[in-house]
C-alpha cells in the first residue's frame, strides 16, 4: 500500500484561535481538551500524594496537622478517581479513536460530546473551590454519618462537584454506545471490531448504569447535611449502612470503568506489538462484557465488616470470585498471543508488559479480599491500598501511558523519542513497585489506612514506600517533558509508524477533521494480521 503523505491541513490546524477549540464539534479536538484537563488534575492529585508520602516518612504527624492530612488523602482520592482515572482513557483515547475505529466521521452526538467536557470542567471547578477554600476531610468515600453530620469541611461543595462531573461520564458513555450500535462503517460487523472498541462499549454500559446511582447518593448526602433530614444518620432516624450500599453500588463498577479501557488498550498494544491476531478474540471480547455485568453484583464485598449479614457476605464473596475469572482469561489470552509472535521492544509494548505483570499482581491480591476470612484482617489497612493502587496505577495508568505512546504519532503527527521513553517506563515500573510493594507487608502487619500518625514499628516500610513514590513521581514527569518537546521538535510521523493493522493507521497522521473523506467499506477484521475464519470462537 502506498504511504499516505502527511497532509497540510489536518484537524489540528483546521481552524485557529481559542473559539475554534472551545466551540469545536470535532471529537479529536475534544479529546485534546480532555487531555489537558485530566493531565492538570493528575498532577494536582499527584501533589496531594506526594504530601501524604512525605508526612508518612515519620510516625508522628509532624509535617502537617492531622486535619490537613485528612484533607490531603480525601482530595487525593476525589481528584484521582473522579477527575483522572474515570475520564482518562475513555475521554481522551476513546473520544479520539472510537469514531475512527468504527469508520465514522465523528461520534453520534458531537455537541453532547463538547457539552460533556464543559460539564467535566464545571464539576472540576466546584471541587477545586472546595479544595482551595479549606478542603474536604471525609475520605473520597464520604461515609455517613461523618460526612452528613460530623465533618466541618466543604462536603456539599465537593459533593456538587462530583454530582456534576458524573453527568460528563454518563454523556460520554451514551455517545459511545450509540456510535458503536449505529455508526459502524459498511462491512464492520461486531466481530470485526477492534478489542479497544469492545472494551469502550462495556465501559460505557457501566458508565450509564452506575453513575446515576452515585449522583443520587451524593445528592442525598447534601440534602441530609443541608436540611438535617434523617436518611443516613441514625441520630436522625437514618441508616448509615444504607449509604454504604448505595455508594458502593456505583463505586465498585466504577473500578471496572477504570480498568476495562486499559485492558482494551493492552489488547491493541499486544496485537500491534506481536503483529499477530489476539489469541481467543471472542473470549477477550466477551470477557469485557462479563466483567461489566458481574461487576454490578459484587459491591457488598466492601461491607464485609460493616455488620451486614453473614449470608450477604457469602453471596458477595462468591460473586467476587466469579468476576475475577474473565480478567484471568484475558491475562492468559494476552500471554498466549506472545507465543510465536514477532515481538517488538518499543515503549508501548513495555507498558503492555508492565500492565500484564502489575495488573496480575493487583488482581490476584483481589482474591485475598474476596476471601471472607481473609478480608476481615486486611480490610481498611494498607493491604487494600496496595491492592487498588496495583490495579489502578500499575494497571490503568500503565495502560493509559502505553496507549498515549502508541497513538501519539497518530494524534500529533510526531514521534516521541524512543530511548528516553523506554528509560521512563523502566523508572515508572521500579518506582511503582517500591512504592506499593511494601504496603502489602505493612498492611498485613496491621497499619490502618488514613492514618496521619502510625505505630513506630511500621516506619521502615513507609520510608521505602516514600522513596519509591519519589522515583515514581520523577518517572511521570519525564513523559510530560518529552511529549511536549515532541510536538515542536520531533520527527514527523507517517500514517503507520508501527506497521500495525487498523482503520486508524489507514488515514494520515494527524487525521483530517472528517477522518474519512468517504466512509470506508470494511473487508475483514480490523484486528487481524492473518486471514481467519470469521466470527465466533477462536
Amino acid at each position: 500500500m502506498d504511504t499516505i503523505a502527511t497532509p497540510t491541513v489536518n484537524y489540528l490546524n483546521n481552524g485557529h484561535g481559542l473559539k475554534s477549540w472551545l466551540l469545536t464539534k470535532d471529537h479529536k479536538r475534544i479529546a485534546l481538551l480532555y487531555l489537558f484537563s485530566i493531565t492538570a488534575f493528575f498532577f494536582l492529585g499527584g501533589f496531594f500524594a506526594l504530601m501524604i508520602r512525605l508526612e508518612l516518612l515519620t510516625p508522628a504527624s509532624d509535617l502537617v496537622q492531622p486535619d490537613t492530612y485528612n484533607k490531603l488523602f480525601t482530595m487525593h482520592g476525589i481528584v484521582m478517581v473522579f477527575f483522572f482515572l474515570i475520564p482518562s482513557i475513555p475521554a481522551v483515547l476513546g473520544n479520539f479513536l472510537v469514531p475512527i475505529m468504527v469508520g465514522a466521521k465523528d461520534l453520534a452526538f458531537p455537541r453532547i460530546n463538547l457539552l460533556s467536557w464543559y460539564i467535566y470542567v464545571l464539576g472540576g471547578l466546584f471541587t477545586l473551590v472546595a479544595a482551595v477554600t479549606g478542603g474536604v476531610d471525609t475520605g473520597w468515600t464520604f461515609y455517613a454519618p461523618y460526612s452528613t453530620s460530623a465533618s466541618n469541611s466543604h462536603v456539599i461543595t465537593a459533593g456538587v462537584g462530583v454530582f456534576i462531573t458524573g453527568f460528563s461520564s454518563i454523556l460520554t458513555g451514551l455517545n459511545f454506545i450509540v456510535t458503536v450500535h449505529r455508526m459502524r462503517a459498511p462491512g464492520l460487523t461486531w466481530f470485526r471490531l477492534p478489542l479497544f472498541v469492545w472494551s469502550m462499549y462495556a465501559t460505557s454500559l457501566i458508565m450509564i448504569l452506575g453513575t446515576p446511582v452515585i449522583a443520587i447518593t451524593v445528592a442525598l448526602v447534601a440534602v441530609e447535611r443541608g436540611l438535617h433530614l434523617g436518611i443516613f444518620d441514625p441520630a436522625l432516624g437514618g441508616d448509615p449502612v444504607l449509604f454504604q450500599h448505595l455508594f458502593w453500588f456505583y463505586s465498585h463498577p466504577a473500578v471496572y470503568i477504570m480498568i476495562l479501557p486499559a485492558m482494551g488498550v493492552v489488547s491493541e498494544l499486544v496485537q500491534a506489538g506481536t503483529r499477530k491476531n489476539i489469541f481467543g478474540y471472542a473470549f477477550v471480547a466477551f470477557s469485557s462484557l462479563a466483567i461489566a455485568i458481574i461487576g454490578f453484583l459484587v459491591w457488598g464485598h466492601h461491607l464485609f465488616v460493616s455488620g451486614q449479614s453473614t449470608y450477604a457476605g457469602l453471596v458477595f464473596s462468591i460473586l467476587s470470585f466469579f468476576v475475577a475469572i474473565p480478567s484471568a482469561v484475558k491475562v492468559f489470552n494476552w500471554t498466549a498471543t506472545l507465543y510465536k509472535g514477532s515481538i517488538s521492544w518499543d515503549t508501548p509494548m513495555l507498558y503492555a508488559y508492565g500492565f500484564i505483570g502489575l495488573f496480575t499482581i493487583g488482581g490476584l491480591t483481589g482474591l485475598f479480599l474476596a476471601t471472607l476470612g481473609m478480608d476481615i484482617h486486611v480490610h481498611d489497612t494498607y493491604f487494600i491500598i496496595a491492592h487498588f493502587h496495583y490495579v489502578m496505577v500499575g494497571g490503568a495508568i500503565m495502560g493509559y501511558l502505553g496507549g498515549m505512546h502508541y497513538w501519539w504519532p497518530k494524534i500529533t503527527g510526531r514521534m516521541y523519542p524512543e530511548s528516553i521513553a523506554r528509560f521512563a517506563a523502566l523508572i515508572i515500573f521500579v518506582g511503582f513497585n517500591l512504592t506499593f510493594g511494601p504496603q502489602f507487608i505493612v498492611g498485613y502487619l496491621g497499619m490502618p489506612r488514613r492514618y496521619a500518625m502510625y505505630a513506630p514499628e511500621f516506619q521502615i516500610w513507609n520510608v521505602l514506600s516514600t522513596a519509591g513514590a519519589t522515583i515514581l513521581g520523577v518517572g511521570y514527569l519525564i513523559p510530560m517533558v518529552y511529549f511536549i518537546w515532541s510536538v515542536f521538535r520531533a520527527p514527523l510521523a507517517g500514517s503507520n509508524p508501527w506497521g500495525a493493522r487498523g482503520l486508524e493507521w489507514e488515514i494520515p497522521s494527524p487525521p483530517p477533521t472528517e477522518n474519512f473523506v468517504v466512509t470506508p467499506v470494511v473487508t475483514e477484521g480490523t484486528h487481524q494480521y492473518a486471514p481467519s475464519r470469521e466470527v465466533g470462537i477462536a
Binding site: 500471554t335 476471601t371 476470612g373
Partner: protein, 316 residues
C-alpha cells in the same frame, strides 16, 4: 529510629493461626500464577523478539480447549478459596456460648470499655488468655472500627446498632488496638492496647479495684433514677410491661408480630419506644433520646438481663 524490622504480625489469638494458614495458601496459589505469567511473558518476549522490521507473527487464532482449561481450573481454585474463606469466616462470626462479654463504646476519639462486673477502661482492654471473649460494640457518634491486628479480628462499630466480634487470646502480652474506619481529626490517634493475661494475673487485675460497681448495679440505679420502675412494675400491672425474666425470650407486639428481646430491642425501646409496642399496652412510654448515653443504655441492658425470675403473668 529503625528499632525493629517486623515482617509479620504476632499470632496472639487462637484464630490467628487459621487466618494465617488461609493467607499462606492464598499467597502460594497467587504467587505460583504470578511467577508463571511473569516467566512466560519474559520467556516469550525474548524468544520471539522481532528480528527484522518486516517480520510478522504466526497466524494463530485461539484454542477452545485452552480457553476452557484456563477458565475452569481458575474457577475451581477460586471456589476452594471461597469455601475455605467462608468456613474461617463462619468460625469468626459465631462466638461460642458462654463467651465472656465485654462492652465497647467507640466515641470520637477514644474507646470506652466496660466489663460486666463494673471495671471500666479507656483505650485499654484487659482479657484473660484461653477464654473466649465477645465484644459487644456501639458508637456514640460516627462509624468507627475495632481492630486488633495480632488477633486478626475487626468489626465496624456503627451508630444505631450493635456489632460484635469475638476472640480467644492465646499469648500473654500487649497488642495494638486501632480504629480502622476513618472518623475525623484524631482517627489515627484512636488507638489503644489489649493486655492479654494469664488467668491468675487477670483475676488479680480484676479484683484490684473495679470501682463504680458492676454494670448491672449501675443499670439498676439508672432504672430508679430515670423512673423506669414507676411504669415497668414487676407484677405486670403497671403502665409498661414487667421486664422480669424477659431478656432472651420472644415478646408479642401489638401488631401481632413477635420480636426477640435482645440488646438491639432494648436499645430501640429506650430511644424510640413507639416503634414496637408490647401487646396489651398503650403507646405511653416517652423517649429517652438525649437523656442517656450509649454506655448507660448498656448498663440498663445489663440490669434487665440480670432480672431472672419467672416469666411475667399474662398481660392485661
Amino acid at each position: 529510629m529503625f528499632t525493629n524490622f517486623p515482617f509479620f504480625p504476632q499470632e496472639a489469638s487462637e484464630q490467628a493461626a487459621n487466618v494465617d494458614a488461609l493467607y499462606f495458601f492464598l499467597l502460594a496459589v497467587t504467587g505460583f500464577f504470578m511467577v508463571l505469567i511473569a516467566a512466560l511473558v519474559v520467556f516469550f518476549a525474548f524468544k520471539y523478539r522481532r528480528r527484522h522490521d518486516n517480520e510478522v507473527g504466526e497466524a494463530i487464532h485461539g484454542s477452545l480447549a485452552l480457553e476452557l482449561t484456563w477458565t475452569i481450573i481458575p474457577l475451581g481454585i477460586t471456589m476452594v478459596m471461597f469455601v475455605w474463606g467462608a468456613a474461617t469466616y463462619f468460625h469468626m462470626t459465631r462466638p461460642p456460648k458462654g463467651a465472656m462479654e465485654i462492652y465497647v463504646v467507640g466515641k470520637q476519639w477514644m474507646w470506652k470499655v466496660q466489663h460486666v462486673d463494673g471495671a471500666r477502661e479507656i483505650n485499654e482492654l484487659h482479657v484473660p488468655i484461653g477464654r473466649p471473649v465477645k465484644l459487644i460494640m456501639g458508637s456514640e457518634d460516627v462509624i468507627h472500627s475495632f481492630f486488633i491486628p495480632d488477633f486478626r479480628v475487626k468489626e465496624d462499630v456503627v451508630p444505631g446498632r450493635y456489632n460484635t466480634l469475638w476472640f480467644t487470646a492465646s499469648k500473654p502480652g500487649r497488642y495494638h488496638i486501632f480504629c480502622t474506619q476513618y472518623c475525623g481529626t484524631k482517627h489515627s490517634n484512636m488507638i489503644g492496647w489489649v493486655t492479654a493475661m494469664d488467668p491468675a494475673d487477670y483475676q488479680a487485675w480484676l479484683s484490684g479495684g473495679s470501682s463504680g460497681g458492676s454494670m448491672a448495679n449501675n443499670g439498676a440505679k439508672l432504672f430508679q433514677d430515670l423512673a423506669c420502675a414507676s411504669c415497668h412494675l414487676e407484677n405486670g400491672q403497671g403502665r409498661g410491661p414487667s421486664l422480669a425474666g424477659t431478656y432472651g425470650h420472644e415478646v408479642k407486639l401489638s401488631t401481632g408480630q413477635a420480636v426477640m428481646m435482645d440488646d438491639t430491642y432494648v436499645r430501640e425501646s429506650i430511644l424510640n419506644p413507639q416503634a414496637k409496642i408490647v401487646a396489651g399496652f398503650q403507646p405511653l412510654m416517652p423517649t429517652f433520646k438525649g437523656l442517656v448515653t450509649e454506655e448507660q443504655i448498656l448498663q440498663l441492658t445489663a440490669y434487665i438481663k440480670s432480672l431472672g425470675g419467672p416469666a411475667p403473668a399474662a398481660q392485661k
